[in-house]
Symmetry: C2
Subunit: 311 residues, 2 copies
């Protein structure tokens, strides 16, 4: 994690220093809550608990939870209140990685520099750990004890999360991604994949933070646009990093996507044009924040962080 924070050096030094500190604070808050709220299971199913914990605490960047906490805080909410929601999204993100790595999907042996869940626990337990994480995310939200979030908003958040991680988002993105049939419009297909597979969940984080902090509906729309553009920026960067990254930095085998004949931005547009597209999304993201009355500087910095990350 420290490495991740350090690598964000190549932004303006002062803003960056203070942003690194901000990110780090949010991260500590989140990690403590994630650990403390992690469920203990009966001895009969200790292996399920171990398998869930293994992937949940495998050293992810926690970008999605930090997006929620930051958006909520920009809206004036105590980030403590947003923690169960940030947890729920990280559970969903983790489940998606476990299932994506399975032999019948991407068949990856390595994730974040460690054996993938099914290599460590076997396919059956990995599959079930994914199912458990997904299911439990909805329990985290529906049984969150704080009364600071209205029931209307909690139901709205559950609906958005199920939308963006299910058939109208992540699952459909993955289905399109593994579809190997020829297409006469590869850039439209690539766009569909990324908008659904990665973009939808990232967008939902901004929406969830915005709803939690009771932003005006018009501002929720602007923040949604922001979320869509940084989701796109994130995915283009991911494709670029996969193309040029080295194994040490990524913690996974570089070039996997190309080997599997997956569509990527560098493959369709070339590396230089892809970098321009990432920057364009970043610019659009920043512009969508212009008309928001509240101080959303931390979101601007987060967008820069997404653009400039190197893993």
């Amino acid at each position: 994690m420290v490495g991740f924070i350090n690598r964000a050096r190549n932004t303006d030094m002062n803003a960056s220093l203070s942003f690194r500190q901000y990110y780090s604070e949010k991260l500590d808050l989140f990690e403590a809550y994630l650990k403390q709220s992690f469920p203990t299971l009966p001895k009969e199913v200790k292996i399920l608990e171990d398998s869930m914990r293994y992937s949940l605490f495998a050293g992810g960047k926690r970008l999605r939870p930090v997006l929620i906490l930051t958006t909520a805080e920009c809206g004036g909410l105590d980030p403590q209140i947003a923690l169960p929601y940030a947890c729920a999204v990280e559970y969903i993100h983790t489940y998606s990685l476990i299932h994506d790595d399975l032999p019948c999907m991407d068949d990856d042996d390595l994730r974040r520099g460690k054996p993938t869940n099914h290599i460590q626990f076997g396919e059956a337990i990995a599959l079930l750990a994914g199912d458990a994480l997904l299911t439990h995310s909805f329990r985290l939200i529906s049984s969150a004890s704080s009364t600071s979030v209205s029931e209307t908003n909690r139901l709205k958040i559950i609906s958005i999360l199920a939308e963006k991680s299910g058939i109208y988002g992540m699952v459909s993105g993955q289905v399109a991604d593994i579809d190997n049939t020829e297409t006469d419009n590869p850039s439209a297909k690539l766009n569909f994949i990324h908008r659904h597979k990665t973009g939808a969940l990232i967008t939902s984080c901004i929406q969830i933070g915005a709803i939690l902090a009771d932003f005006d509906p018009g501002e929720v729309d602007l923040l949604t646009e922001f979320g869509q553009e940084i989701g796109k920026c994130f995915q283009i960067q991911d494709d670029i990093l996969d193309e040029i990254g080295d194994e040490e930095a990524l913690g996974k085998t570089p070039g996997t996507d190309q080997r599997n004949e997956t569509l990527t931005y560098p493959k369709i547009y070339g590396l230089e044009e892809s970098k321009k597209l990432a920057d364009l999304s970043y610019q659009k993201a920043i512009a969508s924040l212009d008309d928001i009355s509240k101080d959303v500087d931390r979101l601007r910095q987060l967008a820069g962080f997404v653009l400039k990350r190197d893993h």
Copy 2:
């Protein structure tokens, strides 16, 4: 389905006839709603829609939705209002069947007399169709448009459903079921498996119906007991049917459980004692209804139906 209804003949003729009609009516109501509310997906992911539909409309008994509709109606609620909740549970039940059948789990080729989802669509799509069904179930509840159910009750139902189908229920039951390590207390293990794997979701149906119809908290507890006992009765019957059933009636290869060295009631207690245990659960279920002030005769009949089913 007609066969299923006809086979319930060996109960008292008049009550049975009217109950068969009742079940059939609820079934029609449910099937129509399930069909009408089934989502249409964009052309890019038509195969996901096909795969979800294939398993969702594979001719299941719909016991779980009918349990919800019946409990809600006994409590005086228009069953129409309970339909999205009944759908959600059937989505979850269907997802669990698809994932259970996968090669890394039970590796079954046949389900309800048809090729299993992964035989028909491949493992990757089957896995994702399961993920999609599970996720969408929470969207069905959180975005249900009727205002007849309070937001408090909707959140309570989501929490129960995530509890009973996740780490505190179905997923843990499945984890214990595939655990092949030696046990010095097989009947305790069997009890754990069935209480979690099948019992929890069946119990949740009764609880959901009871909450929807605003039964008193004390009566919800009694109905929960009822749900637990019919869940147990259902599973003992399932084990008995698997032991003696024939392929035509079950739509799956009989004796699969014994072949896989899975613990079953007949294996631990013998066939005759298992039948007595099923009847005992039925009697306990019926007894728990005695102190409920509302007319719950349909639930008594449903319990008899669970006990006497032959597939």
